[in-house]
Symmetry: C2
Subunit: 471 residues, 2 copies
């Protein structure tokens, strides 16, 4: 018996169940991209529509991102009436804004109405106030109120992340009543994973996983089978905390409550996956000082965003230059010092950035908390720094002494190396810990602050020791 035989009214249909080919998983295939571009060039509207028809909205969004700006405009013009709301919500921020800006308020209202409330709010929150109001004005009353309330929650909070579509059932029902309700109610979310059991005040008192509900006899009371160990997410909880909770307890969905403890929405794991991705990326980008990356931003915007960190680098190296300038006399006497001096600074800087990264990650994954493990990481990193410093001091000291035939120079180089790498271990842990304690993001700025100190101390210790012992 093949699946086709089981199709309603016997229509033969190629099975779509297929094994994923890893090679073809990422982004649009070369072939698809070429075909779409060709069809766009010939303005062959039916062909473009036919090509994107079988695609998942997320793949259509990818396709759009891989078109040139001119092609993109043409594509959106052509597909305006067949493109799914979900596709728009899958686009990168910059492109989504571009697309949204081209739509009339009525068109936008239609898109927003089709989306789950979390995705709808995400589109609305990026509009300027006037346009936001225009769009809201053409949305039916009952949807509008929910969206307006969604916009009142702080950015990056559970309230923004949650969708309002959920299944709540009263405490006194049994499984049969719940199933009949589900079978007979049209207006339910597309997908849900738990039934939330609420009391008469709409406060959650438990939850029943669907896999539990479907396995229980119809006459089982929900109150008997429900899980009562339910973590309720306050609507103003930070999305990072929500993500931590989902990860820690391997959650699929979690109920969101307002300040009165009433059930108002549900956060699902797919939203959390996006948050986890974003947060990890943020750490990475902050450490190297990019801040935010949007591939589709115009060059001048990207250039401007990166300047901030480059200015910090500049100030950093200027301070280092001032340190060096104090020793101009010594350098004039021994130009070989100029040859060797970048070594201590670079080794300290690199070792320090390693330590910072490890500390920032340990803070992010809560391996270090205010309560504990702080002294353990500091003492460990001091030890690590000291061990590696001794190794490199020995290597470089010998090398420096041989290269310039000057034993004292070797000792100076080795001594400065030990000094700077131990400092890197200390500062690399203490700077992010202190920033965290003071309420700053430990990733941002810890890098430049540290390299300023390792550069200055690197040059100072090396040139200083040289001035003391080589004269």
């Amino acid at each position: 018996m093949s699946p086709a035989e089981n199709q309603p009214n016997g229509v033969e249909r190629a099975p779509i169940v297929e094994t994923v080919d890893e090679e073809e998983l990422y982004g649009p295939s070369q072939e698809l991209l070429q075909n779409v571009k060709a069809a766009l060039q010939e303005a062959d509207i039916p062909q473009v529509e036919a090509l994107i028809e079988p695609l998942h909205p997320a793949d259509v969004a990818d396709l759009i991102e891989h078109l040139g700006p001119e092609e993109r405009r043409l594509f959106l013009e052509i597909t305006k009436h067949v493109i799914e709301a979900e596709t728009i919500s899958h686009l990168e921020d910059t492109l989504r804004e571009e697309v949204v800006d081209q739509m009339r308020p009525e068109e936008l209202a239609e898109v927003v109405s089709e989306l789950d409330s979390d995705d709808a709010v995400e589109i609305l929150e990026n509009l300027d106030e006037e346009r936001q109001q225009q769009v809201l004005d053409v949305i039916p009353q009952e949807d509008r109120a929910a969206l307006e309330e969604g916009l009142t929650f702080p950015e990056d909070s559970a309230g923004r992340l949650m969708q309002r579509e959920l299944v709540a059932v009263p405490l006194h029902w049994n499984v049969g009543q719940a199933i009949d309700y589900l079978r007979n109610t049209q207006d339910l979310p597309d997908d849900f994973y738990s039934l939330y059991v609420v009391d008469r005040l709409n406060k959650p008192v438990g939850s029943v996983a669907l896999s539990r509900a479907i396995r229980s006899p119809r006459d089982a009371n929900l109150s008997d089978i429900m899980e009562t160990e339910v973590r309720l997410v306050p609507a103003d909880m930070d999305q990072e905390a929500v993500a931590y909770m989902f990860r820690q307890y391997a959650l699929i969905s979690a109920p969101v409550v307002d300040t009165g403890g009433k059930l108002i929405g549900v956060v699902t794991v797919d939203d959390v996956v996006r948050v986890i991705d974003e947060e990890a990326e943020e750490d990475l980008l902050n450490i190297v000082g990019v801040g935010d990356t949007d591939f589709h931003d115009p060059a001048h915007k990207t250039a401007f965003r990166r300047i901030q960190w480059l200015v910090v680098t500049l100030i950093n190296t200027l301070i280092a230059s001032v340190v060096i300038s104090r020793f101009e006399g010594t350098i004039g006497q021994y130009p070989s010092l100029a040859v060797l001096m970048p070594i201590t600074a670079a080794m300290g800087g690199n070792a320090g950035v390693q330590v910072i990264t490890v500390t920032v990650r340990a803070l992010a994954t809560k391996e270090i908390t205010a309560n504990s493990n702080v002294w353990r990481i500091i003492s460990k990193e001091l030890l690590v720094g000291f061990m590696n410093a001794c190794i490199f001091a020995a290597i470089l000291g010998t090398l420096g002494a041989l290269w310039f035939g000057h034993i004292e120079l070797g000792f100076v180089l080795g001594g400065a190396m030990i000094f700077n790498m131990v400092w890197a271990g200390f500062a690399g842990t203490v700077i992010p810990l202190a920033m965290d304690r003071l309420g700053f993001d430990p990733a941002t700025g810890a890098g430049p602050f540290l390299t300023t100190t390792t550069d200055c101390l690197g040059f100072f210790s090396f040139l200083g020791l040289a001035t003391l012992f080589l004269r």
Copy 2:
């Protein structure tokens, strides 16, 4: 009506449904930690057990990670017989190995048998071969075969990530038959989100989300309500590809098939969340050259792991030193060159690392693929580099000229700056792209390779221009 009134046999019980307090979410509370430590010191076994009894296994694992090594051993000794298998599977790698090493094969076999097959394989794969065999020998035949097969899949593949526990139903059933099967079968996974519909050869032909199944009438045929657009994951697919799929299509679970197309397991989103976390962390750690961070590793292991990258830094700065040494004569003449020369190198290095990070992330998120967007990112980064180079050349040129009262020196500094920052934009994109094309991880090694070039070119262009124009 309070929830307590609804408890079976009327026993009053404090409701456990509670709103999460963000402050108390992360790690064990100070109070809990103190109480556990105190109880450990007094070897008060019942007290320790009472303290951990209400905790989620993931939270017990956290607690263990926050104890000192001595306390940890005592804790494990005491709780050996009450600790849940899941707690062990939640521990950090190093600690898990420590705990596992202390267990006899029979104890370990018991732990492994209690876990889902994916978590069980994760513990087994880290044992040496002899011990692995000892543990497998005491596991009942039917479980053993599954675990042994699990171990045959490549590391970091879908086969390792999947659990074998799943719900498969035949194509000719209707909803009522499926529900009756679920109600009457004991040996089902704790949690599941879809029914996988298979043909007589056990090949998947569709899937039915539980929310769909529970809403459909009992007489609906599974073949009529099933989703046929199902992406089957081959067991040898890389976990990174699996994660990409889950993210792209917002999946909760996905069926895994063997090379014959037969259904052998299911990957669930909680495993994927862990993978996403790991992959993002890997990118970050590779760029700064830490490789792997295990907070609980002993210092000498950590020190040793970091040496590799520091050796690369060393070679890098030594090459730069050789470049500088070519210009010793010029420096002897103008020691102020030594003061200014770190600036060009540092600015180029920092700008380059920014570009590399953005490129590595764009490759990881598949914004750039082999098919497209390659030239767009290169030309954009060249432009960004040029724009910022001009700005900083102007600032620094003026500053250098004023500081040392030497206009030519300002021009030399500005020229070197433009040269090096444009190079950083070019090399920062081309190096990771080339590494990716050649099949290497673009994050690893791109950093040191780039800074070697920006350091050398920075010193070379600055000192070279100085030699040409200042003499």
